[in-house]
């Protein structure tokens, strides 16, 4: 049994992005997704600081200080891209114009509650950024996360223990072990890494899992 690497989780999520989608990538792991979009698909990446049509990170020395992404990294613009102000950027998010929001997560509950903005560390003043807007507003929220914490505790929980970003918003979950949908009947496993049993996956997951009839092995490119 070989769990996916972080880059492979991103690769797997990228395969599900439909041609022509408008997509917002969260900071961290989701940002990697841009690198793995199949070449025959045209995706428009949205950034909450007022950009549609983000391209690849510029080569060193070619960065424009006025062109950054939401993670504050240097960015580029594709032909067809546009700039607008923060209010329009969030109108696009809240109004459901952004098709997919890919976000990281600390925890996801069995009903799709998302916790990804604060761990309540007392020494760490919290920030929320655009997480709540994206979670509540995007047409579809998909999260990428390690299946368990560093000390082996499940991140898919009956109820989130960390403060919520938004209730009942996550549709699909990509982990290093599985691809799981949040459905009205609970968590439905579509893909598991080869060699992993449902029982073993359940062991690493708090709420009950159901295996989809058409489940298949989770395989990812060597990226």
């Amino acid at each position: 049994m070989k769990p996916l690497s972080r880059r492979q989780i991103a690769w797997r999520a990228a395969q599900d992005i439909a041609d022509g989608s408008y997509v917002n990538l969260g900071i961290g792991l989701p940002t990697l997704v841009a690198d793995f979009i199949p070449g025959d698909r045209e995706i428009v990446f949205h950034s909450e600081n007022g950009v549609l049509g983000l391209g690849k990170a510029p080569a060193p020395g070619e960065a424009d200080p006025d062109l950054i992404n939401a993670g504050k990294g240097a960015a580029s613009l594709l032909p067809g891209g546009s700039f607008f102000h923060h209010n329009d950027a969030f109108l696009m998010i809240r109004g459901g114009h952004v098709d997919v929001s890919l976000m990281g997560a600390f925890e996801v509950s069995e009903r799709g509650d998302l916790a990804n903005w604060t761990t309540d560390d007392p020494g760490f003043p919290p920030g929320v950024g655009g997480a709540m807007d994206l979670a509540a507003g995007a047409r579809e929220v998909r999260v990428l996360l390690e299946h368990t914490t560093k000390d082996g505790q499940p991140r898919l929980r009956h109820r989130c223990h960390y403060p919520l970003t938004a209730p009942h918003c996550v549709k699909r979950i990509y982990t290093n072990l599985a691809v799981i949908d949040v459905t009205a009947e609970g968590l439905l496993v579509h893909e598991m890494v080869e060699g992993l049993s449902l029982a073993a996956l359940q062991e690493a997951t708090e709420p009950p899992l159901t295996l989809a009839n058409d489940w298949r092995p989770l395989s990812a490119s060597e990226v």
Binding site: L52, F83, F84, H97
Partner: protein
């Protein structure tokens, strides 16, 4: 690949259903999608709710839809603008319902829908007949009336130029209601004078980013 260009007006208006709420851009005779509305007459949809600043002018576009009995209700700020005989005849015959909305409230209600908000409190109309039956509320010593979002099933707009991503620019005061209506419908259809290559529009000067646009059709160009 993203290509929102369609080849004909018939294709542009395909699928509009009976009973649909249609947002019709324009202010007086300027910036209105007359050719699209003429094509909608051909297409045959009926029992329409039309949202527009004026309730049609002359004998084409919205006026033709009204004259042909396709419109059940008009939501507008000023029904009788230039040559309003189609509206007047239908209204006096009791065949057309009229919901009168202050012009800025009309625009703001569409933005409210576009922005994914549930409602807003406006000072406009308080203490007047147009606020009758609406909730009022005092906030910080001033009275406001609760206004609800106004969303279109379809928006019909007119722009000067578009690229294949659906990015739009307008010309002078022909911009008017076009950008807000383009944002506020499930399906946004735009007639343009000219198609341009992707990347030809200045990303700093795009008036409506393509994320809001579904179909663009060229009208009135030289063959």
């Amino acid at each position: 690949m993203i290509d929102k260009r369609v080849a004909s007006l018939a294709e542009a208006v395909a699928g509009v259903r009976d009973g649909a709420t249609i947002l019709c851009a324009g202010f007086g005779a300027v910036g209105g999608p007359d050719e699209l509305l003429d094509a909608l007459l051909e297409q045959g949809a009926r029992d329409l709710v039309a949202v527009a600043n004026n309730a049609g002018s002359g004998d084409r576009g919205l006026a033709a839809l009204i004259a042909n009995g396709r419109v059940r209700k008009v939501i507008c700020s000023y029904p009788r603008s230039d040559r309003p005989h189609a509206f007047e005849a239908a209204y006096k015959a009791g065949k057309l319902e009229l919901e009168l909305v202050p012009q800025g409230t009309l625009s703001e209600r569409m933005r409210c829908a576009a922005a994914g908000l549930g409602a807003f409190y406006s000072p406009v109309g308080v203490g007047t007949r147009l606020a009758e039956g609406k909730e009022t509320r005092e906030i910080d010593g001033r009275l406001y009336v609760l206004e609800k979002p106004l969303k279109g099933d379809v928006a019909f707009c007119k722009a000067l130029k578009a690229d294949r991503w659906g990015n739009l620019v307008y010309r002078k005061s022909a911009r008017n209601f076009n950008p807000v209506m383009a944002m506020a419908a499930d399906l946004t259809v735009v007639q343009v004078k000219e198609f341009v290559e992707l990347g030809a529009l200045d990303p700093e000067g795009i008036h409506t980013p393509g994320i809001f646009v579904d179909r663009v059709v060229q009208v009135g160009a030289k063959p």
